[in-house]
Amino acid sequence: MNYGFVIDQERCIGCHTCAVACKIENNLPDVVWWNRILTDGGAEMDIPAGEFPNTTIEYVPVNCQHCENPACTKVCPVGATYKDEETGIVHQDADKCIGCRMCMSACPYTGVRSFNWDEPTHVLDMNIGGVDAPEHQKHTVEKCTMCSHRVAKGEEPACVEACPARARFWGDLDDPNSEVSQIIKKRSFKQLLADEGTKPSVYYVG
C-alpha cells in the first residue's frame, strides 16, 4: 500500500481550510503549520503574476510529500523519521528526535518540516482535535503525519474531509481502482520537484 494525495489545482480556491483543519485536528502549536497554501504567482501571497488584465495565479497546497524515496529518512542519524512500509506514510517520532535538523536540510520541499524553535503554545488552554493526535515537543522536528491516527481508524486525513471545493483526494496509489489512481490515470499531473528523484506521493492535477 502507498497512500497519497491528489490535489486538483483547478478546484483549489486558496481558502486555507485544509491548513486550518490540519491545525485543529493535530492540535498544532500557535505558529506551526504542517500544511501551507503557497501562491504560484507574484511576490507575495495571493498576488497574481503579470499585469492586469494578463495575470496568472495558481495555488499550491504543500504538506509532507510522503515520498517513495524520501531524502529525510536516509539522513536521520537516529531513525526518528522513517517510512512505514505498510502504508507509505513517512513518520516523525518526536520522542526520538535529537533536534539536529539534518532532515530539514535534506528535504527538498523546504518548509514542510518544522522545528519547534520555541516551547509549543496554544491560543486555547485545552487540547483540541483528535484525542489521539500527536504530542508537540520543544526543540524537535515535526510534520504532516497524513493524519495517521485517523487513517488507523479507517478515516480520511482531516484536510481531505474539510476541503470545501473538494479539491483534495486521498487513497492508495498502488490500487489501480482507487479514486486517486483513477484521477492520475485520466488527467495530466505534475509532482513537485520531480527531478530530485524523491518520487513524492502528492500529485497535482489541473
Binding site: 511576490a43 535529537i98 533536534g99 520541499y109 523546504t110 516551547e119
Partner: protein, 425 residues
C-alpha cells in the same frame, strides 16, 4: 621566560631528562604570565559560553537566528570551519613520517595539539546546535548507519581519540618506547583518518540533492583542500606565536617551507572554486543563480574577501622577498579568514535559494526576517546570527583555546632532542 623548577611538579615523566639537560632545552611545564592569563581568559569565556548555552536550552532556540527555512546557522558554519582547522596539524605532522620525507622541524607535537583542540571545538559546535542534547545517547543506541551525520560522528570520534593517541605515541617515541615502524604505521592511519574526516563532513552537505549549492561531487576533495589551507595557516600562526614567546625555537627554513606549502594549498583551493563556479554557471540553468548570488548577490562580500584574501596569501607565500615573518603571519590569517568566509557562503548559500519558489504565509518560525515579508526576507542574507549565538560560539572557540593552552602548559610539546639538534644544524 621558562621556569625549570616547576617541571618536577607538573610533569614527573620528564624530570630526569630536564635535570640532565637544564638550560639546553625548555622544560615540560612551561610557565609565563601571558600563558596563565590566556588560560584564565579562555576559562572565563568557556564558562560564559556554557551559561549562554544553558540559556538557549532553558529558554528556547527561538533566541537564535535560525528558522524553518534556514534551519542551520553559525554553529554548523563553525563546525565545518573547525573540522577544517583540525586538519593541518595532523596532516603536517603525519605526512612526513608516513612517507619518510623530511619534516618541519620540531613542530609536530604542537601541530597535533592544535588538531586536538580544534576537533574538540568541532564536536562542541555540533552539540550546541542540537535541540535535544540530552538525547545524544540515542546516537549510539539507535544509530542509523546510513546517515552521513552518523558517519561524521563515528569518524570525528575516532579522529579525536587517534589524535590523542598519536600525540602520546610521538612523545613515547622520543623516549624510545615506540619504534620508528610503529610510529610510521600510526602516521599512515592518522593521515587516512584526517582525509576521511573532511570528506565525511563534506558529505553531510554534498549528498543532499535538494540544495543546489551543496550537491556536487567536488565538495569532498574541496573540503580536504580547504582544510589543508586553514589547517596549515593555523599551524604557522601558532608556531610563530610560540617562537615569539620563546616556547620553542625553529629554523626559519621550516617556516618558509610551511609558507610555500600554504601557497600551494591556497592555489589548489582556488582552482577547485573556479572549477565549481564554471560547472555551476556554464549551463546557465539553476546553477547560474548560485554564481550570481556569490559574485554579485547577497554573499558577494564573503566571496570577494575569500578570493582576494587567498590570492594575496598565495602571492606572499610564493614571493621570496615577501616571505618575512610578519607577512607570513598576515598571509596565514588571510587564508584562515578566507576559508571562514567560504564556510559562511556554503552554509547560507544552501538556504538562500528557495527550492519551491512559491510564496506563502509567514510565521515567526518560518524564516529569520519573517516580518519583512517573503521578498525582503531573501533580499539580503536570509540568515544572520543573534548575539546569543555569537556568545555561545565564542564559548566553544574559547574551549578550544583552553585545551590548547593547557596542553602547552602541562605537556612536553617542544621539539625532542634529536629533532632539536637537527633543526639547530
Amino acid at each position: 621566560m621558562t621556569d625549570m623548577t616547576s617541571a618536577a611538579a607538573a610533569a614527573p615523566i620528564n624530570v630526569s631528562q630536564n635535570t640532565e639537560q637544564q638550560g639546553k632545552k625548555a622544560s615540560a611545564s612551561w610557565k609565563s604570565t601571558g600563558l596563565t592569563v590566556g588560560i584564565i581568559v579562555c576559562g572565563i569565556l568557556t564558562i560564559a559560553g556554557i551559561a549562554l548555552w544553558a540559556m538557549q536550552l532553558s529558554g528556547s532556540m527561538i533566541q537564535t537566528g535560525m528558522r524553518n527555512l534556514d534551519s542551520w546557522g553559525l554553529y554548523i558554519t563553525f563546525f565545518m570551519f573547525f573540522v577544517g582547522l583540525s586538519a593541518g596539524g595532523l596532516i603536517i605532522s603525519s605526512v612526513p613520517k608516513a612517507f619518510g620525507i623530511k619534516g618541519f622541524g620540531g613542530i609536530s607535537k604542537v601541530a597535533i595539539m592544535s588538531s586536538i583542540a580544534c576537533t574538540i571545538a568541532a564536536i562542541g559546535f555540533v552539540v550546541v546546535d542540537l535541540g535535544q542534547p540530552t538525547r545524544i545517547w540515542e546516537l549510539f543506541v539507535f544509530s542509523n548507519i546510513g546517515s552521513p551525520l552518523m558517519w561524521d560522528i563515528i569518524v570525528l570520534g575516532t579522529y579525536l581519540i587517534l589524535s590523542c593517541f598519536y600525540l602520546w605515541a610521538q612523545m613515547a617515541h622520543e623516549r624510545g618506547r615506540v619504534s620508528d615502524k610503529a610510529l610510521r604505521v600510526l602516521s599512515v592511519i592518522a593521515l587516512l583518518c584526517a582525509v576521511m574526516v573532511h570528506s565525511v563532513t563534506a558529505w553531510i552537505f554534498g549528498l543532499q540533492q535538494g540544495r543546489e549549492m551543496w550537491h556536487t561531487a567536488l565538495l569532498g576533495p574541496w573540503f580536504v583542500s580547504s582544510a589543508l589551507v586553514c589547517g596549515t595557516a593555523l599551524v604557522i600562526c601558532v608556531v610563530e606565536a610560540l617562537r615569539k614567546v620563546g616556547y620553542l625555537s625553529l629554523d626559519q627554513a621550516y617556516i618558509v617551507k610551511l609558507a610555500k606549502l600554504l601557497g600551494a594549498f591556497v592555489c589548489v583551493d582556488l582552482y577547485f572554486f573556479a572549477c565549481d563556479l564554471l560547472t555551476e554557471g556554464f549551463p546557465g540553468a539553476h546553477g547560474a543563480d548560485v554564481v550570481s548570488m556569490l559574485v554579485s548577490g547577497q554573499l558577494a562580500p564573503f566571496f570577494w574577501i575569500e578570493v582576494v584574501g587567498c590570492a594575496v596569501c598565495a602571492v606572499i607565500c610564493f614571493t621570496p622577498k615577501l616571505r618575512t615573518n610578519p607577512l607570513i603571519v598576515i598571509a596565514s590569517l588571510l587564508a584562515i579568514v578566507g576559508i571562514l568566509c567560504k564556510r559562511i557562503q556554503l552554509l547560507v548559500g544552501g538556504f538562500q535559494l528557495p527550492n519551491l519558489d512559491y510564496v506563502g504565509a509567514l510565521s515567526p518560525q518560518t524564516i529569520t526576517n519573517w516580518e519583512a515579508g517573503w521578498t525582503d526576507a531573501y533580499a539580503g542574507m536570509v540568515y544572520w546570527p543573534t548575539p546569543l549565538e555569537f556568545g555561545v560560539m565564542l564559548g566553544v572557540v574559547a574551549l578550544a583555546g583552553l585545551v590548547f593552552l593547557l596542553g602547552i602548559k602541562f605537556l612536553a610539546l617542544q621539539p625532542g632532542d634529536k629533532i632539536q639538534a637537527e633543526s639547530e644544524k
